[in-house]
């Protein structure tokens, strides 16, 4: 397979992982809903933190896809790696989730964010490794 094609595939995969973190955390693997009194549990703030990191990663991966300069693409891809690890560390490690681990935030949001975050970090490193200096 041509290096260009591999680069393109890696870029798309990184964008997909970033979108999983930004859009996915809001739509599919969101945190628990508000309490009866309307207040939020701590997992909601973990979701918001992941959303912010996910949005930043989406911009980074879009730029990595658009930019022509190989060095810049490599730098952007590398920048996505610590962001992915940061996102994976948020649920329950950096921000405590709900009390019961069978709740939605533990059962769905946490594993999904950890998988998407680690996948983004790994893909970011591979993307940087295959990027050619133009």
């Amino acid at each position: 397979m041509k290096r260009k094609t591999i680069e393109w595939i890696m870029g798309i995969l990184l964008l997909a992982c970033s979108l999983c973190l930004s859009v996915g955390v809001k739509l599919w693997f969101h945190a628990c809903g508000p309490k009866e009194d309307g207040s939020f549990m701590t997992c909601h703030w973990a979701q918001q933190a992941v959303l912010v990191i996910g949005c930043a990663m989406t911009v980074i991966s879009l730029l990595a896809l658009i930019l022509q300069n190989g060095g810049m693409r490599r730098g952007l891809a590398l920048a996505a790696a610590p962001c992915g690890i940061g996102a994976a560390l948020i649920p329950n490690t950096m921000i405590k989730l709900c009390m019961m681990t069978d709740m939605h935030c533990h059962a769905v949001m946490k594993p999904a964010v950890i998988i998407a975050g680690i996948a983004a970090a790994v893909i970011g490193v591979i993307y940087a490794a295959v990027c050619k200096n133009d």
Binding site: C32, K35, E36, M41, T42, N92, K96, L97, C98, M99, M100, T101, D102, M103, H106, A107, V108, K110, P111, A112, I114, I115
Partner: protein, 398 residues
Amino acid sequence: MKSLALKNLRGRPVRTAVLMVLAALLSFTALGGTLTVTSLGKGLDSLEARLGADVMVVPKEATMKKKFEDIVLQGSTGYFYMDSKRAEQVMECEGVGEVSPQFFLASTGSSCCSIPVQIIGFDPDTDFTVSPWIKRTYGGELELYDIVVGSDLNAFVGDKLSFYGVECRVAAKLEKTGTSYDTTVFTNEETIRALIKSSLDKGMNDFQDIDPETSVSCLMINAADGTSPEELVNDINIHVQKVKAFKSGDMISGIAGSLSGVSKMIRMLIAAVWVLGMVILLLAFTMSVNERKKEFAVLRVMGASRGKLAGLVLKEALVCCLGGSLIGAAAGLLVLLPFNGVIEEMLGLPFLLPDGASIAGYAAAAVILAVISGAAAAAVSAWRVSRIDTGLILRGDN
């Protein structure tokens, strides 16, 4: 010739990818299905072990409750009480061996989340059901306001949890059981009475005319030697009014029935996917060999033996199936391990994953099974390749 199989696979990336996806599907289904069925079985065993008593006696009115079985068997939130006089009458029945009362209380949403927690109180002096289970993780005595939390509660030893304004210390965390008991809080009789009192003082619970100080929720009983649980259940139900005795085994028969139904469905699904996958693999290899007849004929003319050609087809199949089944097994583990909580919730049945070594064993078995199936499907094509008539094919008369 040695690297020809790999070169062939690289040369036809689409065909290779399709074969790998099929192998991945086979190992994913085998591993996912087997792990689910095993986890359901382990969950039921764990629930049986958790019940730990021959007979359970509850107030008769509790059996009218919609969630009665869930409260008793699955640790769902809810409570019911009976006067301790009724409990004493039960204890006087013939054939009663060990007996211990339990107290149920549902917390309101605690500070961290809106979901209530079931609190079960037991008498450490007489208990024979919860204590052995707690002793696996905690050897000490539970003091006043000490609690033991289920494995699914996000609280750890030394943490403070507040129920009805009473601050309790987490003394131990239990091992996972795969049932709703994993989200239950256990404590001693003194603490639960203090919590019940606090809930009444705050007007958060209404026990109507029942005095919590002289009430129990249920009695866990072991039949005395020489008495069968059936006899004991009948004796209690006949002689003591306003209570209902159950044989523990009968109580979980409903869950066992659902579990058997789900397991049967999963096994049928695995079988269907395997039959379908095998047929598709067989067709794929046959079509691939048919379309490559000339290539094999040329190899034969160049001096490759019939065995070498058959080996080439088998090697291609093995490489494809090994790669695909490894991907399938990895995908299966990636879905089942982190998302087992969602699966448990969807099935609504006790679900306890086996230990790491067993999971690794199941994954290896799924990979080996998928590779063997792929090789078996390719064996037919390999046999056909070894019997091709080179002259006929090269003349284009086949």
